[in-house]
């Protein structure tokens, strides 16, 4: 083998080395694929949490959830910027986000159930107070001292009844916070009327026996 042949051989070896290195770089940089399936799953889970009402009933955690997803997407893009990409951490993070989204969805459902129970209990209390108040009006002394003085209170009771009907209708639209406020306001008023009626009737009875 003469010197020329040796040089040629070395040149080929060198070039093929460079080519192999290039291929290796290409291979390493493109073999890690974007975890699109995990991204989609996480996004679907977040959307489900949102649709369930997390924005309202689990506001803080829903904001944290969205922030976590954005953070993961930033990390994915950072990996994308590298020669040697690795999405293994991002995949773990995305699974964490999906899990978090499920927890937020559950928290939302729990909060909604709590509110629903509170509303139902409040409405039941108001209905009971309304029944008692209506009976108290009937219980008022008859004759000249008849129910006329208390009849106007029926107008107030009717307003409370309307408010409670509205609250029941609002439950259907799942606006639980405003519904609870409506029910609470009705309860407050029904309690005040109850106290007023009891006081008036007590005075009636006290003065009757003299």
């Amino acid at each position: 083998m003469n010197t020329n042949q040796m040089n040629k051989k070395m040149k080929i070896k060198f070039l093929s080395g460079i080519a192999t290195l290039g291929l290796a770089i290409l291979l390493f940089s493109s073999c890690a694929k974007l975890p699109q399936a995990e991204i989609d799953t996480a996004n679907v889970a977040i959307e489900e949490a949102r649709v369930s009402g997390a924005e309202i009933y689990a506001k803080d955690n829903f904001i944290a959830l969205k922030d976590s997803m954005k953070s993961v997407m930033e990390n994915i893009e950072f990996e994308n910027s590298k020669f040697f990409k690795s999405f293994s951490i991002a995949i773990t993070d995305l699974e964490g986000v999906t899990q978090f989204a499920l927890e937020v969805k559950m928290e939302t459902a729990t909060k909604k159930e709590e509110l629903k129970s509170e509303i139902q209990a409040t409405i039941a209390e108001v209905k009971s107070l309304l029944e008692i108040n209506n009976l108290l009006i009937l219980d008022a002394p008859k004759g000249k001292e008849g129910t006329s003085a208390l009849v106007a209170i029926k107008g107030e009771l009717a307003a409370i009844e309307t408010s409670i009907q509205q609250a029941s209708a609002m439950m259907e639209s799942e606006d639980y916070i405003a519904t609870l406020d409506k029910a609470k306001a009705a309860k407050e008023k029904a309690s005040a009327i109850n106290a007023e009626l009891l006081e008036v009737i007590a005075k009636y009875k006290k003065n009757k026996r003299v």
């Binding site: 010197t3 040796m6 040089n7 070395m10 040149k11 060198f14 460079i18 506001k59 803080d60 904001i63 944290a64 969205k66 922030d67 954005k70 953070s71 997407m73 930033e74 893009e77 950072f78 994308n80 910027s81 020669f83 000249k144 001292e145 006329s148 003085a149 208390l150 009849v151 106007a152 209170i153 029926k154 107008g155 107030e156 009717a158 307003a159 409370i160 309307t162 408010s163 916070i177 405003a178 406020d181 409506k182 609470k184 306001a185 009705a186 407050e188 008023k189 006081e199 008036v200 005075k203 009636y204 006290k206 003065n207 009757k208 003299v210």
Partner: protein, 367 residues
């Protein structure tokens, strides 16, 4: 041989090393920190209760962040040494600034709104307190009581929303509450203003009775319907003052039997009913209807103010069994039994009883 290798090394490695050096010099780090800062600012802004104008700024911040992320992806699609993140960094910074601006805007506007709504809450509560102090005994129909109650419940709902810093809902509730409350307020004001047109008569009757009592060393009773007071004067000097209860439709002069109204005018005690002679403990029967009442009744019938078959009514008394805390009589004046004892002893048949709407003017009452 060695020379050839050297030449090869120079030809191949120098450009490679130069290229790598160039790339390292010009290569930009990915904008991780900038986007992270923008994201954190967005999260902070999202936690704040945003006013509509703060929301507009916030949405712009979100849009800039999304654009920055998209642009970053596009840059990453390029060959590494052709990537340029300047625009991504610029958008991230803008997003961060806008997010911060939206927080500032929200805080400032929320603070303003909180104060405005607090004032509004105070005004509406004051309006209710004012109504209850001035128009407490004013007879309202069932539908009016319904509206009044609706107004008060809406105000309460508004206060709940206010406490939760839901200012949009607070405004909505306060607006509706104000509508109902002011409607009743206006009705009551008109009614009272109209009622107080008779004030000169009331003033004349009451002052004349007191002067007469002083001059002739007699006694007289003055009933102030609005103040719910019964005053006993002896020789022109106030001796007793009692709380009273009236009929539910007490406002205005009595027009007919069964209207549950208390007549206004100058009357006399015609009979003293002892305990046992009345179911209302003790009673002082008045000479209702007097001549003026009869004339007015006939005129009202002529004018169609009352039905043709209506009767004028009678048996208007000052009696006991009061203290029920409500207006319950058919037009009589009820006192507590203990007060009735004093008045019954102090009055004789013939004692003058003046019944007026109010001893104070409407303006005085408002003050």
């Amino acid at each position: 041989m060695k020379r050839r290798i050297l030449i090869w090394l120079l030809v191949v490695f120098i450009p490679i090393i130069s290229g790598v050096a160039y790339i390292f010099i010009t290569w930009q780090k990915p904008p991780v920190a900038e986007l992270s800062e923008a994201r954190l600012s967005l999260s902070d802004a999202e936690k704040v209760n945003r006013s509509p104008s703060a929301e507009i700024i916030f949405q712009r911040a979100v849009s800039q962040y999304d654009s920055a992320m998209l642009l970053w992806q596009l840059e990453n699609d390029k060959i590494f040494f052709l990537r340029n993140y300047n625009q991504v960094i610029r958008l991230s910074d803008q997003s961060k600034q806008l997010a911060k601006a939206s927080i500032e805007k929200a805080k400032s506007e929320n603070s303003d709104m909180k104060e405005i709504l607090l004032q509004r809450k105070k005004q509406l509560t004051k309006l209710i307190d004012y109504y209850l102090s001035v128009f407490k005994h004013l007879p309202l129909s069932k539908s009016q009581r319904n509206e009044w109650t609706k107004g008060r419940m809406l105000l309460q709902e508004g206060i709940f929303a206010y406490n939760k810093e839901n200012y949009e809902l607070t405004i909505q509730k306060f607006d509706s509450a104000e509508l109902f409350i002011k409607r009743i307020m206006n009705y009551s004001t008109r009614l009272i203003e109209d009622y107080f047109k008779s004030y000169p008569d009331w003033k004349y009757w009451s002052e004349s009775a007191i002067v007469h009592s002083r001059k002739h060393k007699t006694n007289c009773v003055i009933i102030d319907k609005f103040a719910r007071k019964c005053m006993f004067y002896n020789k022109g000097v106030l001796q007793y003052e009692f709380d009273i209860e009236l009929g539910p439709n007490w406002i205005g002069d009595k027009k007919r039997q069964g209207d549950k109204s208390t007549p206004e005018g100058v009357y006399k005690v015609t009979r003293k009913k002892k305990n046992g002679e009345t179911i209302y403990y003790k009673a002082l029967l008045l000479n209702y209807p007097n001549e003026n009442d009869k004339k007015r009744f006939v005129q009202n019938k002529k004018n169609g103010v009352i039905a043709g078959h209506a009767t004028i009514g009678n048996l208007i008394e000052i009696h006991g069994r009061g203290g029920k805390g409500t207006d319950w009589t058919d037009g009589c004046i009820a006192l507590k039994d203990t007060d009735m004892d004093k008045l019954f002893t102090a009055c004789q048949v013939g004692t003058e009883v003046v019944i007026v709407g109010s001893l104070k003017t409407y303006d005085e009452l408002l003050k």
